[in-house]
Structure formats: C-alpha cells, structure tokens
Amino acid sequence: MTLSVNTLFFASYRDLVGASMLAVELSEGATVGDLVEELRGRGAPFDALPVEPAVAVNQTYALLDEPLGPGDEVAFIPPVAGG
C-alpha cells in the first residue's frame, strides 16, 4: 500500500527545487522524516534541502516524526522573514 502527499515549496526552497508543488508517493505509515529522506535520496537538487527542515502538515507546523496520511499537504518552510 502507498499513500500520496502533496508537497509545497516556498521562496528559496522553490528556487532551489525549481517547482512550487510536487506529488510524492510514500509507503503506508510514512512520516514527515520519511518524506524528507525520499526527496533527498533523489539527488540534486533535492539533496540540498535541509536534513531537518521546518515543515507544516495541513498548514500546522509539524515535527519529523509526524505520521502522514493520504492527500496530506506538506509544506517545506524556509526560515521565515515576515514583518
């Protein structure tokens, strides 16, 4: 069984990856950390993403051990600079 999540990239991460959105297939039971590993394992340019990035799952900040579900929206959040 697999699950599909939608990953979002913003600002400097979007420039780095060259896309703002990417669907990723993961094994059932995968966590945010597994998603990061899967992407970084693809090599350039994804391997330049942080090993421990700030992420938000369904628009709430989440840690790397957060389990993912089908259709989750996972945003990679570069260091923020509002104001």
Partner: protein
C-alpha cells in the same frame, strides 16, 4: 471584557494603517496603539530599491489569527487588528500594521510587541530584497520554534551540524 481579534488579513491589498487603527478601540479602552512596518531603502549597508513578500497565504492567515488571539488572551487587551501585505512593495510602503486597544496603555504596548515579534518568528512569509545594483536576494530568516533546523544541506552545514 472578552479579548478579541477584530480583524486579520494576509494578502496583496494595500494596507491603510489608519483603517487598521480605526478597527480597534471602544468606550472601555483608554489606550490604542498602532505599529506600522515599512519597507526601508537599505539593508546591511546595501541600497535597496524594493521588496517582494511571498507567503504561504492560507497558513499565514491561520497563524496570524492565532498570534493575535494569543496576544489578546494572554496580555489582557480588548481588541486586536492586524494586516500583513504580500507581493511587490516600493520603498516606504507599509508591509504590516498592528493595532491594539486596551483599558490601560501597558497591555497595548505588550500585545503590539508580542504580535510583531511572533510574526518574525513563525509567520510563513518570506521577503526578497531588490538591490539598487539590479541584483536581489532572499532575506535570511528565522527557523520557526518547535520545527526542524531548516539549515540547507551544504557540505559546510553538515560539518557544523
């Protein structure tokens, strides 16, 4: 007196600080405070010609509302209104406006400070500076608390980490 967030927005619409201020205040409030963040013409000694603000807008709206609610509840204010702008801004344009009212001044000062500091720590917004020489660059930001370290996986970062 129930604390409440009377207004909260994140988007490309031009901010009118007077309008934001006009949203707070009541007959119970003896103080109203307005903070305005403005695009300035220099950064670390380099002349800046403009700024682009990008946001994860849906999340930023929720996060900004949460910040304003925390300020209202924890710091004993009456009303809080806040707007953050996105898109291309010129020098002197308003990027953020925060208005707070409370029966006494201390709560308004504390809450206004809280909202701007939390925006800088946690609001999913990024800015790209346009420099006078035609180049541009993302402003170095802050890793939101309680998340990963967000350090790009350059060889140097791995040695440090």
């Amino acid at each position: 007196m129930p604390a409440r967030v009377v207004h909260c927005s994140v988007g490309p619409q031009v901010i009118d600080p007077v309008d934001v201020l006009a949203r707070v205040g009541s007959e119970e409030d003896g103080a109203a405070l307005l903070f305005v963040g403005v695009v300035r013409n220099h950064a670390d000694g380099r002349p800046v010609s403009g700024m682009r603000y990008d946001a994860y807008e849906e999340m930023a709206r929720k996060e900004l509302a949460a910040i304003a609610q925390e300020a209202a509840e924890r710091l004993g204010t009456d009303r809080v209104a806040v707007e953050h702008r996105t898109g291309e801004l010129s020098i002197g344009e308003v990027s953020v406006a925060i208005a707070v009212s409370s029966p006494h001044r201390a709560e308004s000062f504390d809450a206004t400070r809280y909202v701007i500091e939390e925006i800088k720590k946690r609001l999913p917004v990024w800015k790209k500076e346009h420099y006078e020489d035609g180049s541009d660059g993302w402003v170095e930001g802050t890793v939101p608390p309680g998340t990963g370290r967000g350090v790009l996986a350059t060889p140097d970062a791995e040695v440090d980490g």
